[in-house]
Symmetry: D2
Subunit: 230 residues, 4 copies
């Protein structure tokens, strides 16, 4: 992912790539090379330290790493508000994913139940995906009331999540990149909103847009929808 | 479908069922029984005569029959404007179908190509479905510019349609009720919006709503979205 | 379901319907009316008592109730072998479901990972579904070796199952009848086998076939595939 | 695709890459470099000349180019039988695609109707895809009788095909690699068999297998299933 982002940044005439930092290389290289914006696609265990380093050193940061809890966003918000640099975090940089989240939220009030199925390759570190968690969060917020009761059946420890009664199923099989479907149901009908990313190419327009806009944001902003005129 | 509609009307405390007309029975029964609103789920070959009869006799009409061309809507509009009775026509009375059309139209400007696949049972008389045609119409209108060029390949006479470059595929297999998916694509990603009606129950809330609201409309209105606060 | 089965039995010229037993009526009615075969579509909490009653009273039994564990099948097998009457149990009576299970089992050896997603209406009592459990069982048996390792992510108590590393996701939304998809993955590709039952009509050919064949079986047989020439 | 194949051949210890031929380079390079097997992923307009050149010059040929009609296969068969070199042609080298075709053929006898939807990127030259045509051919052969009648509706010239009453819908949108679903229907149920290739990586095991086995085949063989123990 890092290499794809570097290539996308280099392809832009009004952006300049000044540093590439691999996992065993020091973040101080950002300062040495005068970086104004850092892009972080790392792992859940190091991403927060990276963000903090950037913000404390007055470097704007664009984050595509997932695995954030609500409390993590709060922490980043505090760091961003404490200084001049901003953070932009998106669980998904694909335009289609942003539209999926928007439509799922708009539909949430009209159906009695909904569930989310997300599918990624078998080595993805976190579950549920950041996109699924954010979708559920936006749907619950837009709905503003509880979902109808559903029989539970036998429970087991399982890959997935439960956001205020909205269930997320996390499927992990090879041959997957980033896929999600939101299924909403009423008596006699279901509405399904599905997004399939099959190539990192689908994320690059969003990443480049965020790099260009992060300096003009206010503190910490979460979600690509805030950078688009939808 | 007629029986299901009659049962739904009878279940409403503020509606009264005054006549049921089967295919070999005279429309004059509507007049004899003092009908204020007629509901038409018939076939493409008789629906326009039925609508004309109702409007000329000052009976509001709610129409679920499909197979309309743009020129047919124009004719109905003329009849409705010529007298006090209104016509309400919906290619699909399911709430989920209305949301599918709305979201597909909203997404149309953000993708370079799209195609529609609709699936119904093997005896459906018309192809493409009224819902698919209306979806394509709304998408083209919202997009306001041509879709990207697509290689044609070998052409054949086929079940389906082409609405200004937006292709509709009409699948007919048993085990289907009313299913449609809209697939929108950009480099590396697709967004799919899908609606599945598996039971006529899903149409009844929309039919009942239309029966209650048709008298307060203005002339001829097409599409359930105009009766909802979306 | 009971009413649909009764109608299907009555429609057969070589079968006679001698008794209908609702949930608050005594099973002794079967004996009083000389039933040779009983059909049970009840609930997981009473089905085993019903089967035992039938077999002890030398009445063959065809069972469509789900929620069985492997140990339950063992018990029924013992009862069936202790007397002249046979039991036939199928987690799913739809022909398409049987083919889905067969194909999923055949494909299991060729992919590194697989997961099952089953979807039913929100009031279904058991989870995972009997069909999903049986599919997983047949796939594991046909594969004969472990599935590849998959990162677990955060675990939660969840609706679903885990059959020797094969995960089952149980989705519960209205607008569903009986739907299942098996997703098998290798590097760069997925194979999906999906069955959708949208009407009880799809189960009747299988139920009628079982009623006609149960007397000629040997003890307890599980799965419609054993009654078909596949 | 050529580059991916070359890399895959080079990665095999028992294969040697002796020539790469781009579209403006002469086929004679194969002879000059002593090639024993040629792999052709070109275009429908040149593939047959390429195959003929190879077979006449006693070089085995493995072909992944699509767009073949039944009469083209016959011609290649004649050329292969006229000399010592063999031809192996596969409309699809992905294992999952081969299983999809096998299962669709097995299921064909059990359903009253079926249709095929194939989806590829918007620049694919031929429609319907070679995989879809071969699937339809195998399904018709296995079924051995006509499909049930289906209402036609309005016909139009369209992207797709009709193989003895089995309809193929060809969808072309960006964000696609190679996707196909076969939908089979009976009263109340559908069975769907779907294959998604999202990366050329999925074709390489099949191509390498064909390169290793083509010398031991007999004349012209069509379909990867003949090289596998299914």
């Amino acid at each position: 992912m890092g290499a794809t982002v570097c290539a996308a940044v280099e392809a832009e005439t009004d952006l300049e790539l000044v540093a590439r930092i691999d996992q065993d290389e020091p973040l101080e290289d950002l300062l040495a090379n005068g970086a104004e914006v850092a892009v972080d696609f790392t792992t859940p265990d190091v991403v927060k330290d990276n963000i903090r380093f950037c913000l404390e050193n007055e470097i704007h940061v664009v984050v595509g790493t997932t695995g954030f809890e609500e409390s993590d966003f709060d922490e980043v918000r505090k760091w961003a508000e404490a200084g001049p640099a901003n953070a932009f975090i998106a669980p998904n940089f694909a335009l289609g994913a942003v539209l999926m989240m928007k439509f799922a939220a708009e539909a949430a009030a009209f159906f009695s139940n909904a569930e989310i199925i997300e599918r990624h390759q078998e080595k993805k570190l976190d579950a549920p995906s950041g996109t699924a968690q954010r979708t559920a969060h936006l749907m619950n917020e837009a709905r503003g009331r509880a979902w109808d009761e559903v029989t539970r059946g036998r429970g087991e420890e399982f890959r997935g999540g439960d956001e205020s009664g909205l269930r997320i199923h996390s499927v992990r099989v090879p041959g997957s990149v980033a896929h999600q479907e939101v299924i909403l149901g009423n008596a006699g009908e279901t509405l399904t909103i599905r997004h399939d990313s099959i190539d990192r190419a689908s994320f690059m327009p969003g990443v480049v847009l965020a790099v260009k806009k992060v300096a003009s944001l206010d503190g910490c902003v979460v979600g690509l929808e805030h950078l688009l005129d939808l």
